[in-house]
């Protein structure tokens, strides 16, 4: 197990290096930030000055090695536009993003699995049909449309929930300001979290339901019923436990998508998170911010996937990593 984890971490490291190299190479050959920064009317000399001040006049490998060296010390350089350390820029906004993503994730895992189990109990009852139709819409609606529809219904028509922003936040430690501790903050969290979690919720629901329907036909569940175990034990201990493995896999694979969709969600709800920062940086050709964002995202996704692999071992003792 230990050897396996070490190997996975080493592999992840290689992936990270590859990602950084690709990012760097693309930026090298595409889109010249100097033109954006120096302005369209800058003279040749002014452009050269900007280029030199950013270190963009040095050869590719020198720039890349310098970048790697600095990155290893946690320094991703300054933002071209604001001249502030990139990492500080991202870390300032990360708490908002993490709170949103975690809430959405829990919402979709909990509701998805619960509704999936419920709809597999009596697959042909009207309630199950409603759930299944709802989930079909859930996978057919793009995130941005979900967000706009929710705003239209709850903020414009019913006027019960705020349409944008993060509301009142309180400082916890250091840079971390949380919206979890104020009523206003929680009210602002509801719509964005629902928007972000909707697609995942629908996917996990359908997966759980499909798996449960199959598991309930298997011999081991029949045996469990025949032994006279209660419905609760058969459902949760025998059937659901076997269904959870593919569900957890998909939930893990969807982590990347969750981060991507959080960019869309943050843009719709004007959520002051890192996704919104990325969008602005894309519009402004602020390469250091984009590279750092991509690297941090990759790091998060890879870490979560390693944890999920470990979780497998706990869910299914048959799996061993030797």
């Amino acid at each position: 197990m230990f050897a396996y984890i070490v190997r996975r971490i080493a592999q992840s490291f290689i992936v990270l290096l590859a990602v950084s190299l690709i990012c760097f190479a693309i930026f090298q050959f595409m889109g010249d930030p100097v033109l954006t920064l120096a302005g369209r009317y800058a003279t040749q000399e002014q452009q050269e000055m900007v280029r030199r001040s950013l270190g963009l006049d040095k050869p590719f490998y020198t720039q890349y090695l310098a970048f790697l060296g600095n990155a290893a010390h946690g320094d991703f350089g300054l933002s071209y536009v604001t001249q502030v350390p990139v990492l500080r820029l991202i870390f300032e906004r990360l708490p908002a993003s993490i709170e949103l993503a975690v809430t959405a994730m829990f919402l979709s895992l909990f509701l998805g699995i619960a509704l999936g189990v419920v709809s597999s109990l009596k697959p042909h009852s009207p309630g199950s049909r409603v759930i299944m139709t709802g989930s079909l819409f859930g996978i057919s609606l793009p995130t941005f449309l979900v967000g706009i529809l929710l705003i239209l219904i709850f903020a414009v028509l019913l006027r019960v929930l705020p349409p944008f922003g993060r509301g009142r936040v309180v400082k916890v430690v250091g840079n971390w300001r949380t919206g979890f501790l104020t009523i206003d903050g929680l009210r602002h969290l509801i719509l964005p979290a629902l928007t972000l979690g909707m697609y995942q919720l629908a996917v996990l629901l359908r997966l759980t339901r499909g798996g449960m329907l199959e598991a309930l036909q298997e011999d081991y569940t029949r045996t469990a019923w025949a032994k006279g175990l209660s419905q609760r034990i058969v459902m949760f201990k025998h059937a659901l436990r076997n269904v959870l493995i593919p569900v957890v896999t998909i939930a893990g694979l969807q982590m990347g998508e969750l981060i991507a969709f959080s960019i869309v969600t943050e843009s719709i709800f004007q959520w002051p998170g890192s996704g919104n920062l990325l969008l602005t940086s894309i519009y402004e050709t602020d390469h250091p911010v984009i590279v750092a964002y991509v690297m941090i995202t990759a790091l998060i996704v890879l870490t979560i996937n390693i944890f999920i692999d470990i979780l497998y071992g706990i869910l299914n003792p048959k799996i061993s990593y030797d």
């Binding site: 057919s140 793009p142 995130t143 449309l145 706009i148 991507a260 960019i263 990759a298 996704v301």
Partner: protein, 294 residues
């Protein structure tokens, strides 16, 4: 031939599956509307000569202030919403079909070769696939388009293909590994069939069905992705029709109660994706009978 088709299980299952029929009818209506948009649309919304700012922000025809021929109202430029939707659906279908064709061909070829020859080729392609997979298609397409700005619809297609082909390669690889050692492949090899002939004549037809399901689901996902990218302003250029862009524009007017700018293009988008998803559900059950509804 026709009789055989009519008697086949495939078709009779299709007719009995109500949601598959509903899905394909919805999809067909939108597709026909998109194809014949220049003939049936009351206005060409991308020809500035036909637009008049006096017609801007008219509500749908059945509401007070509604005006013929603007059946579903107009946007802030005086563009007829219905016409813009029809033209926008053309973009959706164009991007959707192009991506699944190109990404599908690349993915199927790579997956087939990797699984057939295994060894280093397989290891390398699958590591690349893993790296791609740990990123999301959406994020990657967003970044690519953010870097290569202003390239029009072909660039949108290219960016989505680059981010998306892995899905097909992975499925194809798994599928080929499943049939590679089957008896008929051994038999073909015993008869002296060349590698190329075995791959194309024997393995490909037997390994392709799961790809059809992936392609169907992916079509919906690609249509959503194009809309999302255009919504964020990194997709289709501003002078080209797109459902995502219409919704992004309409978003500015929802607080003013002008819901038709958002709801109608949204409904068109949902129809396309819902239609294909209903069809995909049926296809999945047809190809994998183990999943049959109980």
């Amino acid at each position: 031939m026709t009789r055989r088709l009519l008697q086949s299980k495939f078709l009779s299952h299709y007719v009995r599956d109500r949601s598959a029929v509903v899905g394909s009818v919805i999809l067909l209506i939108v597709l026909l509307g998109a194809i014949f948009a220049p003939l049936i649309a009351p206005q060409n919304p991308y020809d500035p000569r036909t637009l008049s700012l006096q017609d801007s922000l008219k509500p749908p025809i059945w509401m007070e202030g509604g005006q013929a021929p603007f059946l579903l109202g107009t946007d802030d430029q005086g563009r007829d919403i219905l016409s813009t939707i029809l033209y926008g659906c053309r973009t959706s279908f164009l991007v959707g079909f192009s991506v699944i064709l190109i990404a599908g061909t690349i993915g199927v070829t790579v997956g087939l070769l990797a699984a057939f020859y295994s060894g280093i080729l397989d290891a390398v392609t699958m590591r690349i696939a893993d790296t791609f997979f740990s990123f999301s298609t959406t994020l990657m397409a967003m970044l690519l388009l953010g870097i290569f700005k202003g390239g029009g619809i072909p660039l949108v297609i290219l960016a989505i293909v680059i981010a998306d082909w892995v899905r097909y390669a992975r499925t194809m690889r798994g599928s080929v590994l499943g049939v590679k050692e089957d008896d008929y492949v051994q038999a073909a090899r015993a008869c002296g069939g060349s590698n190329l002939r075995i791959m194309i004549r024997h393995i490909l037809p037997n390994a392709i069905p799961p790809i059809l399901v992936v392609a169907a689901v992916d079509f919906g996902a690609v249509v959503m992705l194009e809309a999302t990218l255009s919504f964020l302003g990194v997709g289709v250029p501003i002078n080209k029709p797109s459902l995502g862009m219409m919704i992004s524009l309409g978003k500015n007017y929802i607080y003013a109660g002008k819901w038709w700018l958002t709801i109608f293009p949204g409904a068109a988008l949902i129809s396309i994706v819902l239609g294909i998803n209903l069809l995909a559900d049926w296809l999945r059950e047809e190809i994998n009978p183990k999943l049959k509804k109980r």
